[in-house]
Amino acid sequence: MPRTTTVECPGCPPIRVLTFDVLGLVKVVEARAKQGGVPKVVERWGEPDTSRHVLAASINDSKFDPLLAVARKSGVTEVLNPINGDLRGLVPSVCQSDVQPEDDAIVGLHLFKKQISDSSSSSGNIVCSKVDGSENYALFGGKGVEANVWDLDKCTKIWTAKSPPKNSLGIFTPTWFTSATFISKDDHRKFVTGTNNHQVRLYDISAQRRPVMSFDFRETTIKAVAEDLDGQTVYIGNGSGDLASVDMRTGIQYCQHVLT
């Protein structure tokens, strides 16, 4: 079952996708034709082995030295070359399995160390985190942990979210963020999060602490949120296998794909 997917910027083939799964395989899927041809698995790296279960991955897509870091269940983080899958280096990681390595390997390590101190200080579990394009700010959220934004240079928390007020029935849903992403690579102030309660929320640091916009998406927990390159569209995926793309300015759903 595929766990994480990273999409590379379209270079020679129109769309090139790297998927990682429970068996520790890295597969490259490409769609050759212009107008959405049938994607095919082009390459497959690694042998199937469940101890190498991939937990998280992140890509640093620079022009001259692209790196792909893959964190596996066995506690080892591998750095691969995303073009042909060669192993570049190994980083034995100390911390627990929830972590997501970020862009640069060095920054990733930095974040690892910080993760430990964070989770010891805050009272909940951190489930999702994201670093923005310029690598100065990081965003964390989790179960019982409100969305926070940290400044990486100074290692201080600069902003915390506040949960929306009680709804009309007087029911208060506990906070549980399952995924988060900055809405565009340059702007560290706006970000979108998905909650366990099938809600998608847009926050703006410069505006207010409550979410600027929030809407419901189907009935199960939001498992993945990803931003589009244009800075407006956001793709969401939930626990029942449904995908949708939403315009964050207006909140209108562009299209929806329900798993059948």
Partner: protein
């Protein structure tokens, strides 16, 4: 009088239509647009034409069948090969192409099996221990069904539900080393759903239960013994079906006691899983000679009639029910926050020839 009038009316009407039909048989063979019963607006005439069409079709079918039988008999008498039997078209034959059907040389499948949640039981490393419980309100057929389940599944224990939360029950069971939990859900005093939760972090399968027949309602039923039964799982072809098959397999102990001569069958057909529990016995039967139809000079027939055949006789015991998978969720019971591997949605029923297990 009224009845007679009706008969005469229909008699009048059939005759002209019949003439039209005989003229237009060629046109009919080209396309059936000439006279469809649905084109006649008058209900009496339309039903009469339809009945006549059906009668004709039935006669033709019987004629064809007789011709086929005559051909076969003639070929056998002459000694030639009888013409090959045609294969009837069934929904299973015309099933839609499914890319998730397991292929025999799929190494990813085997690697996945090695590492999945059931592998420790299926590799004989640990034995299965089942906890059976019910929903909060349990009455009438529920307890009877559970007592029969306890006799079918070895090493199963029943605990009363009380008012415990299901997530707490999962915790208690993991602490006490159970390998799976079965929750029998009752609706309107009749068991109608089965929730199978693998432990410690196994998948949760939600089945719909129907057509339950208890042991006392089966005629000439047998009584199960305490021997461990053999397990037969048939027709689980797709990846999802394979996973469900392994889930069911992990409920039973992996070392059957063949001397007990008991077999539990889970047969999947069109996404319905049929559960049967039989005791079997092998008997040798002498087949009788068929003198009336055999002609002289048929050595093969005489030889066969002298041989003995061993047949297996089955006696059904235990309950009989059907299951249908509603959803398969990864992880233990968590409907709101869990990720679903497969959930049935009405949009999936796009065609009558599409099945998922």
């Amino acid at each position: 009088m009224a009845v007679k009038r009706k008969k005469s009316n229909t008699g009048d009407m059939i005759v002209p239509c019949g003439k039209e039909d005989s003229n237009s048989t060629e046109k009919k063979s080209n396309g059936k647009e000439h006279l469809l019963p649905s084109m006649i607006k008058n209900k009496e005439k339309r039903s009469a034409v339809h009945a006549q069409l059906k009668h004709q079709k039935k006669l033709e079918k019987r004629k064809k069948a007789k011709a086929r039988e005559a051909d076969e008999k003639r070929a056998l008498e002459i000694g030639e090969e009888p013409p090959p039997r045609k294969i009837p078209r069934t929904i299973e034959n015309t099933r839609e192409f499914d890319e998730t059907i397991c292929k025999p040389d799929d190494e990813e499948l085997f690697a996945g099996n090695d590492g999945d949640e059931f592998s420790s039981i299926l590799k004989h490393e640990s034995t299965s221990k089942i906890l059976i419980t019910t929903c909060r309100f349990n009455s009438t057929r529920g307890p009877a069904f559970i007592s029969e389940l306890l006799s079918v599944i070895p090493n199963a224990h029943y605990y009363k539900r009380g008012t415990y939360d299901l997530k707490k029950i999962v915790e208690y069971a993991t602490n006490k080393d159970f390998t799976s939990i079965i929750v029998v859900h009752t609706n309107r005093r009749e068991p109608d759903a089965l929730l199978v939760i693998g432990l410690p972090d196994g998948p949760t399968a939600h089945f719909k239960l129907s057509k339950l027949v208890l042991r006392k309602d089966i005629k000439n039923h047998g009584n199960p013994t305490s021997h461990q039964p053999e397990l037969v799982l048939t027709n689980f072809t797709t990846r999802l079906g394979h996973r469900i098959g392994r889930l069911i397999q992990s409920l039973f102990p992996q070392d059957p006691n063949f001397r007990g001569r008991q077999v539990v069958t889970f047969h999947n057909q069109r996404d319905f899983i049929f559960f049967r529990h039989h005791r079997y016995i092998f008997e040798s039967k002498e087949s009788k000679q068929s003198d009336s139809k055999a002609t002289k000079g048929k050595d093969t027939m005489d030889e066969k009639s002298a041989q003995e055949k061993t047949v297996a006789r089955l006696q059904e015991c235990g309950p009989r029910f059907t299951l249908k998978l509603i959803s398969l969720q990864q992880g233990t019971f968590d409907t709101k926050g869990g990720e679903y591997e497969w959930v049935h949605k009405p949009e999936m029923d796009t065609s009558r020839r599409r099945f998922f297990l």
